[in-house]
């Protein structure tokens, strides 16, 4: 895969509703691609000779989706999934760029691992993979990593995955060091002591089921500490996966004071609540946990207000055995690449966002968080395109998911919105 592949023949996508939030475009027109880049919108450029025409009548044409957090499980956990299997699923989901957390085995704390992941992705050519670099060596939370080298190896951001850095002094130094090289940092806000051993939101369902809870305060304390450090160091901090109403309020307050902080939310957090755990449903065992309806509504409001700017999949595919145990023994996380777009489109139907803003949350906004000029359809931009049918219905299930991971609490649920074509750097990588 190369972004300027000469092999990408000229393609015209005709008659679709083009939505490009970065340029504030929402209009029915044609889109022309050549040489891996956007060649033009509307009338074909002079001398453009389309070798393939995609009829997008009745469909939406938008930038390829950008997902700030999707685990691919390679290297180290190939029994769960591989770069090949999950980038194939990403293509089916309209996702052309994804950032994978550094908690592979070994973790992405050396350029070699980052290069391996990128190489595996490039060989397959289904999606562009940007591995987040480990913020600390071995994700140990004690020693800062060789961030400059990781940046050169293609890591757009630094992250300690979902392992909290317990030592605040180490985190401070890590943020300072990352900002020296212009690197943003992804932080999963959680107080290590309050979240330790927890499995579900500390609330009604945890109390009824006798499961160890993670209190709201764990996230609130994490956000408070990390905001103080962001302010102290001036570092660019991105909160990965907020789950509580209180955290969204603190984020909004910090942003109103001009702090360079951003946040995302996993799409399922905008729909599901702790109730999904009823019946000891291991597929709803997620970290951060599903919280209350009030939290979900506050997260939706924060997305609507533009405080949370990105919606991601937080994809965590598992082998079936990982969920085939009593709830406390199961591994957290859900397979979520392919439900991302339908869940985001559902927010439009629920009038949380208009279609253009919804698309921005999965294209231009996350691209900005990853500091990459992606997620746009302006002439000259990389021709990453998603063409989807906003009305097509499908049922989430083992047969319909491309991902190796079939672990999702949305199994059996009918969703609306299906990707028809995905183009990566001007080449069709999915047609469905």
């Amino acid at each position: 895969m190369s972004d300027t592949s000469a092999a990408a023949h000229p393609i015209s996508i005709r008659g679709g509703r083009i939505i490009d939030p970065a340029a504030d475009i929402d209009a029915v027109m044609d889109l022309h691609l050549a040489g891996g880049a956007i060649a033009g919108l509307g009338e074909a450029p002079a001398g453009f000779d389309a070798q393939q025409v995609i009829d997008a009548t009745g469909l939406v044409v938008c930038p390829g989706l950008v997902d700030v957090s999707a685990r691919l499980r390679q290297p180290g956990q190939e029994h769960k999934a591989t770069v090949a299997s999950e980038t194939r699923a990403a293509a089916a989901a309209g996702i052309t760029t994804l950032c994978c957390p550094p908690d592979t085995l070994p973790p992405v704390d050396t350029p070699a691992v980052a290069q391996l992941i990128r190489q595996l992705a490039e060989e397959r050519g289904h999606a562009r993979v940007l591995p987040a670099g480990a913020l600390t060596r071995g994700l140990d939370g004690e020693h800062i990593s060789e961030m400059a080298a990781l940046k050169l190896a293609g890591c757009p951001v630094m992250s300690n995955a979902d392992r909290p850095v317990r030592n605040t002094r180490v985190l401070r130094r890590a943020l300072e060091y990352a900002s020296t090289y212009g690197l943003g940092t992804f932080l999963h806000p959680a107080d290590a002591y309050l979240s330790e051993g927890g499995m579900v939101h500390e609330g009604l369902v945890a109390t009824q089921l006798g499961l160890p809870g993670i209190p709201e305060a764990a996230e609130v304390l994490g956000v408070a500490r990390d905001l103080a450090l962001a302010e102290q160091t001036g570092a660019r901090v991105h909160f990965r996966g907020l789950s509580t109403a209180r955290a969204t309020a603190m984020l909004a307050e910090a942003r109103s004071r001009g702090l360079p902080v951003s946040a995302d939310v996993a799409a399922h957090q905008l729909w599901l609540t702790e109730d999904a755990v009823a019946g000891f449903n291991a597929d709803a065992h997620l970290i951060p946990p599903l919280r209350t309806a009030a939290d979900r509504d506050a997260l939706r409001a924060a997305v609507a207000a533009g405080e949370i700017t990105a919606i991601c999949s937080d994809h965590q595919p598992h082998e079936p055995d990982a969920k085939l145990s009593p709830f406390p023994q199961t591994e957290p996380g859900m397979s979520a690449l392919e439900t991302l777009l339908p869940l985001v489109l559902g927010l439009v139907r629920d009038e949380v966002l208009d279609l253009c803003d919804a698309i921005a949350c999965v294209t231009a906004n996350p691209a900005a968080i990853l500091d990459r000029p992606l997620g746009r359809l302006q002439p000259g931009a990389v021709a990453d395109v998603c063409v989807f049918d906003p009305h097509a219905r499908w049922v989430v299930g083992e047969d319909t998911l491309v991902s190796r991971g079939k672990n999702t609490p949305l199994r059996g649920i009918e969703l609306t919105g299906r990707v028809r074509w995905t183009l990566l750097a001007g080449r069709v990588v999915h047609e469905g």
């Binding site: 089921l209 499961l211 599901l272 000891f280 145990s325 009593p326 406390p328 559902g346 649920i413």
Partner: protein
């Protein structure tokens, strides 16, 4: 777009009952109606007489194999389940799993499949993880029955039902009763099951009494209790006092500063017992920590019904096991595999 998830109660009912509302598994009291709980108590009443017969056996589970699957050690519960199964004429396998299969890395599901291959008809399961009994019942091949003998902090339904049996024997019923549950509600599967049973059977009020560290989040709404942090206020006028076992590992400063301070604030003494109704009874699921949860004089006093609870445990477990086996026989009959021999009342 996404319909609300069925509640725990709805899901538990669907898992435990067949289409006619017969008990297939006994995993939790969540989702079970008052009439069914009353049936269990009535049936247990009938079994009390078996102990007084010269031949202490009834043939309700003859030819059935019942496996006691104890992933956590237990003496009393396992023994009463074994005795209950034998009195029902079943063959009993005792498997102490904590020292065998899982220690070798076998998954719970593999252990289950192996035992199924031996044609076990009923599993009695104790496990350290909340939801373990649900898990086994979900994955057990029909018509294998699963009885929960305690899972994690979630449920211990036979213990709760024997406590209900004891309360009914002393109080004649449940209407109008105020019941105080004292101690470590947070970690107690017994308390969760008792609270559900008491509310389902229609008591006037269930009180949970303890320090905030041992009363779980949003208990009033989640469990249906009134929370008291002051023992004296909580005991006032109650008809039944249930003390919970306090595990030693909670008393090292993590949840409680010391045994001494706990007893000082929440230990039941004769004097404090005087605050309750004059005919209040004192219960404890055992084993007792004398001088921590209560004074010896209370444990051995005339209000204590602790040993009765143990005797009643046998009858209640016979009732539940025979009901589940009865449902299993109906299933086998419908599947053409066996006539419905010996189904029905005692």
């Amino acid at each position: 777009m996404i319909a609300p998830t069925p509640t725990q109660q709805e899901q538990a009912a669907a898992l435990q009952l067949d289409a006619q509302g017969n008990l297939k598994h006994f995993l939790t009291l969540d989702g079970l109606e008052r009439s069914l709980l009353t049936d269990i108590l009535d049936r247990a009443e009938g079994f009390l007489g078996v102990a007084r017969q010269a031949v202490k056996k009834v043939p309700l589970c003859r030819g059935k194999i019942i496996a006691n699957l104890f992933f956590e050690t237990s003496t009393r519960t396992r023994t009463t389940f074994e005795l209950a199964a034998k009195r029902l004429s079943a063959d009993v396998l005792n498997l102490n799993i904590s020292t065998s299969a899982t220690a070798k890395g076998e998954t719970l599901l593999d252990t289950l499949r192996n035992l199924e291959a031996m044609h076990v008809d009923m599993f009695v399961v104790r496990h350290a993880d909340s939801g373990a009994a649900h898990f086994i019942a979900t994955h057990a091949a029909a018509p294998v029955a699963v009885i929960n003998a305690g899972d994690g902090c979630y449920s211990h339904p036979t213990q709760a039902m024997l406590d209900m049996f004891t309360i009914r024997a002393h109080k004649g019923g449940f209407e109008g009763l105020t019941v105080a549950i004292i101690g470590d509600v947070l970690h107690s599967r017994v308390a969760r099951s008792q609270i559900t049973a008491l509310n389902t059977l229609g008591v006037a009020e269930v009180r949970a009494i303890g320090p905030s560290t041992l009363v779980p989040a949003r208990s009033e709404e989640a469990l249906g209790v009134r929370v008291f942090h002051d023992l004296r206020a909580g005991l006032r006028g109650v008809d039944v006092i249930i003390l919970l076992r306090l595990q030693h590992e909670r008393m090292d400063g993590g949840f409680l500063p010391s045994e001494h301070e706990y007893f000082h604030l929440f230990g039941l003494t004769d004097k404090r017992l005087g605050l309750a109704a004059p005919d209040a009874i004192v219960m404890h699921p055992g084993p007792i920590n004398r001088g921590v949860e209560m004074d010896s004089s209370v444990a051995d006093g005339e209000r204590s019904v602790i040993l009765e609870q143990v005797s009643n445990g046998l009858a209640v477990r016979m009732a539940v096991m025979s009901m589940c086996i009865g449902t299993q026989n109906l299933w086998l009959h419908a599947a053409g595999q066996q006539p419905p021999a010996e189904v029905g009342d005692v």
